[in-house]
Symmetry: C2
Subunit: 244 residues, 2 copies
Amino acid sequence: MTGSLAIAGLGPGDAGLITPEVSAALAEATDVLGYSPYVARVPVREGLRLHPSDNRMELDRANEALKLAADGSKVVLVSSGDPGVFAMASAVFEALEAKPDYRDVVIRVLPGVTAMLAAAARAGAPLGHDFCAINLSDNLKPWELIEKRLRLAAEADFSIALYNPRSAGRPGGFERALEVLRGAGCGERLIIFAHAVTTPKERIETVRLNDARAEMADMATLVIIGNSATRRVGRWVYAPRRAS
Amino acid sequence: MTGSLAIAGLGPGDAGLITPEVSAALAEATDVLGYSPYVARVPVREGLRLHPSDNRMELDRANEALKLAADGSKVVLVSSGDPGVFAMASAVFEALEAKPDYRDVVIRVLPGVTAMLAAAARAGAPLGHDFCAINLSDNLKPWELIEKRLRLAAEADFSIALYNPRSAGRPGGFERALEVLRGAGCGERLIIFAHAVTTPKERIETVRLNDARAEMADMATLVIIGNSATRRVGRWVYAPRRAS
């Protein structure tokens, strides 16, 4: 018997941002896997097996999810935000590519509200014009590629969302990213630090990039750098629709 | 008496992708405004006034929403997808900037599942690595800026989501965008055409960019161009997490 695997996004934190589609998948699941803090957000009920795991175990977790589904379970693999944005969906397809045995597993990817959209909504509309999203973690790519992308994004005048700006294992990266952006002429741009967005610990702070300090971000922070036209109106920050 | 304005995203089409937060706002609203096809997705009930309007009326619609809220109504302004991504939120802040009288209106932006996330989920995980989003409409920006951004996005090896690739008023733009990307060395990249995603008319088609034709897209299509490592596994398309 072959089960199914739903790769689901729980949104940024607030239960009001979990889609009905994801809630329905969780209500029918026999097994839920994911990074511990995300599994802790799933409502407990009788008959539902929870399989929390550590960070950086993405490929092991993907393989376990596929194996459980191949053995007949109804599996939901949970990510924060959207599962396709710097989260578990790519890891599952990597695992699937390596294990042709699992090709018959019924897979669905269930989208969610990714952190940059929630952060943008709280700040105003800083992603209202063309933008890019860059993962600042250099665990899986060389730092030089990150710097190159930052420079090109500045040249393209994109608004820039930075995921995973800072962690204990990479203390200096975000500071270097700020330097690269200053060197690329972005010093006067607005930069938004959205910490723990949509949770009780939410904190939103906006400054000029020249005044930003690396300590303003941690791993629970989503950073958005405005484009050259991004501005304030009252307490809000937005990117005008028009550009020249 | 001052009312409130919620700028809300209805997601790409499927009711299962409307967040509970947005559904709650609609349940409490006295007035709903938006482009007609989006207002048509809002459940009708007694006492709810619907104000559908035409496309390209964004600033008028934003002003009307602010005026109704300032007069005491509980207004929800609806967009498809996420209201902050090429949608109504920026228009509201532009209107607010021009009319200081409305600064006391209580505004909330309610995020949603934007089209590229739903399209990516249906296709696999093509946005699993760094990416950008570009609106191909040149109504509010010069075409030269769009071409420049496409070239820089190709050089940065971003996956690229293209919103509004094609309309009756801009028949040639998407063809030129494909030419620019071929000229930038992206001919062998995968390109995904996600038409009317999550609706009964959904159709997903993936080809090499060299084999893409402009007619594969219309205004209901979200286009995603993979990065240089994006590949297929079975029926899925995904961006590997690792890059060199």
